[in-house]
Amino acid sequence: MLFVSAFLTGVLFGLGLSISEMINPTRVIGFLDVAGHWDATLIFVMGGALAMTVPLYPLILRRNQPILDRRFSLPTKHEIDRPLIFGAVIFGIGWGLGGFCPGPALAALATGSTRVALFVFAMITGQWMAGRLQ
């Protein structure tokens, strides 16, 4: 059952990325280009998403367990350490260069574009490289 709910929430997620146009790197770069013709769309996407998660997360976490599993799997680290900062720096540079972050890049695979596939392949390779390092 866990994979059914994961699939359905994935579908909602992919629909959301498409409707908000975050699937389009030009939109994302338009947001990051603060000195140019700034595109504020991403702010509204973040706002719309947080309008759901901010009130719903605490309500859900009041439960003893999720509906389909025995326990909540939440991040255990609390410390702001070097890997967190360096990782965010490296990710930010890559995000600015291509206009793609992981969610939109996966959703954009639906276009069948080989260039999107190239990015996703490079991204998985990058994850593997970081895994080897750790």
Binding site: P66, L84, Q127
Partner: protein, 140 residues
Amino acid sequence: MAEVNLTGGLIGGALIGLAAALLLLFNGRIAGVSGILGGIFTSDNRADRLWRCAFVIGIIFGAALYARVFAALAVQIQANNFTLIVAGILVGFGTRLGSGCTSGHGVCGLARRSPRSIVATATFMLLGMLTVFLMRHVSF
């Protein structure tokens, strides 16, 4: 292009947030795309790999569904292939090292008021803006 898509942004964002809330409610998981994707290749548990794959396939299916029902997907990539590969490697490397991306740190972490996620989100947004500034407005 720079015309803000206010309704699409808000509705799409709300769907993303709802999806994240439902994944937490049903599976007890944070909807961090980089972590879910990475786990497909690192997890040694079959059931674990299965739900991760299902979520990723769901994302692709959701975008395909949009293209079928509403409008063709506009995905305009300005970067050339070399830049695209470098960008992909940096995004993969950075999100693994920094334990998250725009969804995990941005959408879910901020809702959990996680200090790590607040710092990470501010950092990658700043660096993304700086990178675009250097690319577009500074000639080397």
